[in-house]
């Protein structure tokens, strides 16, 4: 009867796995080949039953978790712990994290589990391997917060913070957002926690989200000095890894504080050395321009050229505007030498990088204002015979006609490449 054939079909798809054969279009099957293909991944060795049963166990655990069958999950978990003793060292090393994730979830929901069981479990897992220590500690603290056990969370964190080795900061980088929210929660609740955070931040490492939140809190409570101290430490302490964000935070803070220009310049100078392409560099240039010192002016030119060395900034109209203007200013100030010095290292590659005829056409099509600024710079540096300048100067545009005329005039006046000389 057809209905039973159907039943057979249905049931067949359920218990499908049996033996998977290697298919080929002609309907030939090579089960022995499948076996060999399977061993390629393991380097020729057949998978041991240990590996097969533990992965089946994992499957059962996950299924039980999905179905909220905590009892079952705990039962399988009991057997799953043996992967901590896996002879395969890769699997053995990956084991604690998996076990933590699954175990903590089971203990979170299981009716028979209590905060104490969770604590015991967390403590045990922390002892397996240093790398997991902080991650588990923080997640443990979160769990405690969830249960409204603020004191315990606090105690937990302060206790563990003293043990954190600086190896752990890569992990903080990853879970930035999570820890940020976590830290936010903590700050909203208690001031005491800040003491712990302070201790934490003093340990060398990358603590960006913590620092940000902490400083916000300090500013909120009016402790400007404290905030400044924290940020300065964070940026300048040699023991800490080189971190551009540290300097950015400090700079922004000082800006808010309306610190003197000198101070701001000194902070940004370091950032310039670390990340010369940063968008703050334009701000840095402005500060340098406004300064009275001559070497600041020179640096200002350097910074501008530095910014435009990077592919990410080639279409930055502000940068080009500044450069165009500043070149004129510099040349009018009789500092041809500066310009020549900057141009020396760049004259071999800037022309094709910025001023090729392709760019001329493309820039003009995309952003005429940008093209004009670039044309001016090109004209000054390469002379009025260069392709870019010639292309732009030939363009006839209602709006920019006047500007182009001005550019031609400037180039004539200021061009570094002077046929006459």
């Amino acid at each position: 009867m057809s209905d039973f054939s159907e039943e057979l079909i249905r049931s067949k798809t359920e218990d499908d796995k049996e033996e998977s054969c290697v298919f080929s279009g002609t309907g030939m099957s090579f089960p022995w080949l499948q076996k060999h293909i399977g061993t390629v991944e393991t380097g020729g060795k057949k998978e041991k039953d240990f590996a097969q049963t533990t992965s089946a166990c994992l499957g059962f655990i996950q299924e039980a978790l999905l179905k909220h069958q905590w009892q079952q999950a705990a039962d399988y978990m009991h057997s799953y712990f043996q992967i901590l003793e896996d002879s395969d060292s890769h699997k053995r090393q990956a084991a604690p994290e998996i076990i933590w994730k699954l175990g903590s979830e089971i203990l979170f929901y299981h009716p028979k589990s209590s905060v104490e069981t969770f604590n015991t479990f967390a403590d045990r897992m922390k002892n397996i391997g240093v790398m997991n220590y902080l991650k588990i500690s923080l997640q443990h603290a979160l769990y405690l917060l969830h249960h409204g056990m603020l004191e315990d969370a606090n105690r937990n964190l302060s206790f563990h913070c003293t043990y954190i080795p600086h190896l752990l900061y890569p992990f903080i980088y990853e879970d930035d957002y999570a820890y940020n929210t976590a830290s936010q929660n903590m700050f909203d609740h208690s001031w005491k926690t800040s003491v712990n955070l302070r201790a934490l931040i003093q340990t060398p490492g990358v603590w960006d989200p913590f620092v940000k939140s902490y400083v916000e809190m300090l500013e909120f409570y009016g402790d400007q000095d404290g905030a400044r101290e924290v940020l300065t430490n964070y940026a300048y302490d040699e023991k800490f890894p080189s971190n551009p964000n540290a300097h950015i935070y400090l700079y922004n803070f000082l800006k808010r504080e309306k610190a003197p220009r000198e101070k701001l310049i000194s902070v940004l100078k370091i950032l310039y050395q670390i990340v010369p392409s940063h968008k703050l560099m334009l701000e840095f240039h402005r500060l340098l321009r406004k300064s009275e010192k001559e070497d600041h002016h020179k640096l200002g030119l350097e910074v501008l050229f530095g910014v435009l060395d990077f592919a990410g900034c080639t279409k930055n109209i502000t940068a080009w505007k500044y450069l165009a203007k500043y070149l004129r200013q510099t040349l009018m100030g009789n500092h041809l030498a500066w310009v020549q010095e900057e141009w020396k290292t760049r004259k071999n590659w800037w022309p094709s990088f910025h001023f090729s005829s392709f760019w001329a056409k493309s820039d003009w099509k995309e952003d005429k204002a940008l093209a004009c600024e670039k044309a001016l710079v090109a004209g000054i540096l390469l002379g009025k015979g260069c392709r870019y300048f010639r292309f732009i100067s030939k363009q006839d545009d209602q709006v920019l006609r006047k500007k182009i005329k001005q550019i031609k005039k400037s180039v004539k006046k200021h061009s570094v490449v002077n046929p006459g000389l």
């Binding site: 009867m1 067949k12 043996q82 002892n127």
Partner: protein, 589 residues
């Protein structure tokens, strides 16, 4: 010598009055300051396993304490001997006669040691580090007393329980010389056994190296020799269910046989044995040991297909009447002949019959004969049976394939599910952890402690109520009883619905048949045929899956066996060059 070992000896030295003792090689205490040797010897603590006082004396004399862990000196093959002993004991508990352990297995093992030149021969193999003292087969040699015979060595109990003398019968005792062992104890690659490292590196072509799976091959050979009622699939199932020591069998070594380092790779196995693999090893070992023809398998042996078919028919709940048909098929194919069934390793094309697989294959052929299994006829015949049964409720019911299918499907699915769950929960690691060397010992122990404590914590969360008791071992995985309304028993059902009279005899209503394999492979690959599921009917797939699960073999193996039976049965068909997917054949008997 270690001062630690002599700590308990607290007397003052008679010559120099110091209390600082060590142990000589002979086990006597000596003063470390003036080197005065006393007559006091260190007592051996645990003599439980030693039956023989002579051996006790030997122990005190020769056995040296190891640096890493105190214990006896032992060789890898002694370890295997231990394991075989345990397995034989387990088989005895299962009902096998004691001769298997005392005589058959014992002799096979001795023969193996001889053939592999590890004992009972003139020039035993040794590693370079040792001085081998080769002894002539002169039993009155002066050293004989101090060199224990391998098999009677106290570190592994003798197979012969009742025997008072530890010499095996019928063999001239050729002692197993033990020379002074100078194992470099600072080596990072080490092992608890004396030759563990060397053993795992040994690679001689002609010699079959003993491994854990091969212990089962030895067991099976002994069972086969004794014609016991345990098939290979039964044996392996008992291993999986834990009735026969295999995984972590080394845990039951005597306390003093310390296991670590390279021993781990030899004894700690993390896979269950597979039928196909052990089968190959059985033949390999039988050939290696030069065994003679085995005792005959006759019609009244359990392993004869007539009897095994009956057993399996009962197990899968098929009617007893089918047994007639299976006997017929057996007769027609000649697979019930003594010469066909009996194992003869020395024969030109040595093979042993896969008794269980063959019996099951016969049943599959019979089912095909009766029902065709083309996803059509079997259901049609079921309809007829159903109609008849409804009208004639008092008579013996006709066998209804559909009903049988429903009952069996449910049962097998349940069993399979439980089996998978049990496997997923299986705990592989031994209670006493195995470490590689003194370096990782502490780590390994700590890990174990961690695992145990975590397990304890989680087992508290699990419902403590119904703990699954360990199943008592049984040949039968399914049991069917008459009168059980929940699970119909089909044993007593009749085949009238699918047979019809033809003159004096009965023949099947179905007159068609299709072959499982149209052409057999003759090339280099070791398979004669392959099994591509989608080429076959769903009914056939169900049947193959059912029986393969029962025997815990691969579906392709069973399919192959079915094909081979058909090859004999339909000889003429295969003789013809043109292929026919269906053949018309009337069965007559």
């Amino acid at each position: 010598m270690d001062l630690e070992e002599a700590k308990e000896f607290r007397e003052r030295c008679t010559q120099c009055a110091a209390v600082s003792w060590g142990l000589t090689d002979e086990g006597k205490y000596y003063c470390t300051s003036c080197h005065n040797v006393t007559e006091r010897s260190k007592e051996v603590i645990n003599t439980g396993a030693i039956p023989n006082t002579k051996i006790q004396a030997i122990n005190r004399g020769l056995k040296r304490k190891r640096k890493l862990e105190k214990g006896w000196d032992w060789y890898v093959c002694e370890g295997f001997q231990q394991i075989l002993y345990q397995q034989a004991e387990a088989l005895k508990t299962l009902g096998v006669g004691p001769e298997l352990k005392n005589e058959v297995l014992h002799n096979f093992w001795k023969r193996y040691l001889q053939k592999s030149k590890q004992a009972y021969c003139k020039n035993p193999i040794y590693t370079s580090g040792r001085k081998a003292t080769v002894l002539e087969d002169n039993p009155s040699h002066s050293d004989w007393d101090s060199e224990p015979d391998l098999l009677s060595d106290f570190s592994c109990p003798s197979f012969v329980e009742s025997g008072t003398d530890s010499q095996p019968d019928g063999h001239t005792p050729k002692p197993f010389p033990i020379s002074k062992v100078s194992q470099s104890e600072t080596a990072s690659i080490c092992s608890g056994s004396l030759d563990g490292v060397e053993y795992s590196l040994r690679k001689e072509k002609e010699i079959v190296k003993m491994t854990m799976p091969r212990t089962l091959a030895f067991c099976y050979l002994s069972l086969l020799w004794q014609r016991e009622t345990i098939t290979l699939s039964d044996l392996l199932r008992f291993v999986e269910e834990g009735h026969i020591p295999y995984i972590n069998a080394f845990q039951h070594f005597p306390e003093e046989m310390k296991l670590y380092g390279r021993d781990k790779g030899i004894f700690a196995i993390e896979s269950w044995p597979t039928y196909e693999d052990i089968y190959k090893k059985v033949i390999e070992i039988a050939k290696f040991l030069d065994l003679p023809r085995f005792p005959d398998i006759t019609e009244d042996s359990y392993l004869h297909p007539n009897i095994l078919c009956m057993k399996y028919l009962m197990e899968v709940n098929l009617p007893d009447e089918m047994n007639d048909l299976t006997c017929q098929v057996v007769k027609m194919t000649g697979i019930g002949e003594v010469d066909f069934l009996t194992f003869d390793p020395i024969a030109k094309m040595a093979k042993t019959v896969k008794y269980d697989v063959q019996a099951v294959a016969v049943i599959v052929v019979v089912l095909k004969l009766l029902f065709l299994l083309d996803d059509n006829l079997e259901w049609t015949l079921s309809n007829i049976a159903e109609k008849y049964n409804e009208k004639n409720k008092e008579d013996k019911p006709w066998f209804d394939f559909r009903k049988w299918y429903q009952v069996m499907k449910k049962s097998i699915d349940e069993k399979k599910q439980k089996w998978e769950e049990a496997r997923a929960k299986y705990l592989w690691k031994s209670e006493k952890p195995l470490y590689h060397s003194s370096i990782d010992r502490a780590v390994v122990y700590k890990r174990r402690e961690m695992v145990v404590s975590l397990q304890k914590q989680f087992s508290a969360l699990v419902d403590s109520a119904p703990t699954v008791e360990k199943k008592s071992p049984s040949s039968f995985q399914f049991n069917w009883t008459e009168g059980d309304s929940a699970r119909t028993c089909f044993h007593g059902h009749g085949l009238q619905g699918i047979l019809k009279k033809k003159g004096q005899s009965l023949t099947t209503k179905n007159s068609l048949y299709w072959l499982s394999t149209q052409k057999f492979c003759r090339s280099y690959c070791k398979h004669v045929t392959t099994y591509e599921e989608s080429n076959f009917s769903l009914s056939y797939q169900f049947i193959i899956n059912l029986f393969s699960f029962l025997l815990r073999i691969k579906t392709s193996s069973l399919h192959e066996e079915v094909s081979l039976i058909e090859k004999i049965l339909f000889k003429r068909k295969y003789g013809k060059t043109k292929k026919k997917s269906r053949s018309r054949k009337g069965r007559k008997y």
